[in-house]
Amino acid sequence: MAFDKMELRDIEVWDGNFAAAQALRQCQIDVVAAYPITPSTPIVEGYAKFLADNYVEGEFVMVESEHAAMSGCIGAAAAGGRVATATSSQGFALMVETLYQASGMRLPIVLNVVNRALAAPLNVNGDHSDMYLGRDSGWIQFDAYCPQDAYDLNFIAFKVSEDHDVRLPAMVHQDGFMTSHTAQGVHTLTDDAAYGFVGVYKPMNDMLDFEHPVTHGVQTEEDWHFEHKARQHNDLMTKVFPKIEKAFEDFEKLSGRKYNMVEKYDMDDADVAVICMGTSVETAREVALEMRAKGIKAGVVGIRVIRPFPFFAIQDALKDVKSIATLDRSAPGGTVGMLFNEMAGAMYNLETRPMLSGKIYGLGGRDLTKAHLVDLFTELQANVDTGKITTPLQQFIGVRGPKLSFL
């Protein structure tokens, strides 16, 4: 091979951004078209440095905006390359138009989204507003809770996304600063093992196949558009889950680390449970253990795959729980939070139908403290003890001023 390999220690001290950049190097990305934005910039900067230092054979395309970055990725993916980029917040928002192009054109691009609040007011810190903005775009969405996850899920994202039965783009989410800039021990794969897992890129309907010319990005009106979107949704709903399951299994064989579409912690006998994503999962796990020491059967459910939404796995995880709270880290814009909405949809038809309430927390990087979670688990236990929901359905956690609740 024309590029150099890198010797890694078994455990490296990496933040989430550098872990993702190393994964992009080990996957040997052909094209990264990128525009910098805090806090995701070090991912594409890292790839560019690896490229300049001859650790990757590829192209780095500097563009004038995030819209152009994803457009460049779409062109490169249609041409037949392994493609990735990274963004956050306002950049993600600018990318949205092209996200729908990428999924509709069935191009397996991997986008690292370092989650950050959306203006106004302008804010560079982590919440899930950008992640929620992409949830109807037809992409597969993986959520990392720590730098290790950000590293591992990149390999899994390429493996699933590029499968010829799938051919749908994938996002790997990590929390801005809390994961992206917080260094932790990350167990590494060797370059050969990592590349062996994702495999050599297999093009499909690529524009550089001159014997089979194709036109990408065609127009359809009322006569065909519905069939195309139906096909896309069908494949997202039926073909992606088995491939993710297989990738999780294969990755466990390779690394010993097991991921699940729905991560369950202390859920076997839980009466009360908190559903959350990102770095909050680790905080909630710690508090759940402390609540158990106080006699409250507390558990935590982390969503690992946000889209396609693991409807049945969620039902299975929560069917025997009595009182549940969803933690949504995004301003819900006039309704319930996304997780509350999805949980309600998944559980409404369950015979056991658990009690469900929703919390809005952590906007613009506001800390979710252990004290918040102690209060929350205590409140859920009060629901169990009285047999009904004792609070409004939607409450804000950690905001200054008079208590804010709705519904």
Partner: protein, 131 residues
């Protein structure tokens, strides 16, 4: 094709220009290529046009300017000789007329319904002032 269901076509917003594989496409004239029904070559968009270019071969010097500038590849040239306009794909933009360097021009725009033989019989004379 009109009755195909959602599960009966290839994935992606993608169409194939040819049925099966091709080789030496550069050495094959358009009329000899196996264009698929999805190729725009097989679809007429003549009704987009309000005015049309008429080609008068008496004045053409085969400079190929029109062939190079036509945005719809609608100037038909064979062996570097202009032989006509592809009226299924010409949109009537008039660029070929603009770039034509002869005096009088070898291509002029006329109303879509004008009779070609009549307009050629009444073709403008050489502009002595410009010459």
């Amino acid at each position: 094709m009109a009755n195909k269901g959602w599960d009966e076509f290839e994935i992606g917003a993608m169409l194939r220009t040819f049925d099966g594989s091709i080789d030496d496409i550069a050495g094959t004239s358009q009329e000899d290529r196996s264009y698929s029904e999805n190729s725009s070559y097989t679809a007429s968009v003549a009704d987009w046009r309000l005015i049309k270019p008429v080609f008068n071969k008496d004045y053409c010097i085969d400079c190929q300017f029109c062939w190079i500038y036509c945005p719809d590849v609608s100037i038909i040239s064979r062996d570097k000789k202009l032989i006509g306009v592809d009226m299924d794909h010409c949109k009537g933009c008039g660029i070929c007329v603009e770039v034509c360097p002869t005096n009088p021009k070898s291509l002029l725009m006329y109303d879509e319904h004008d009779d070609e033989e009549t307009v050629i019989a009444n073709w403008p004379k050489k502009d002595e002032e410009e010459a």
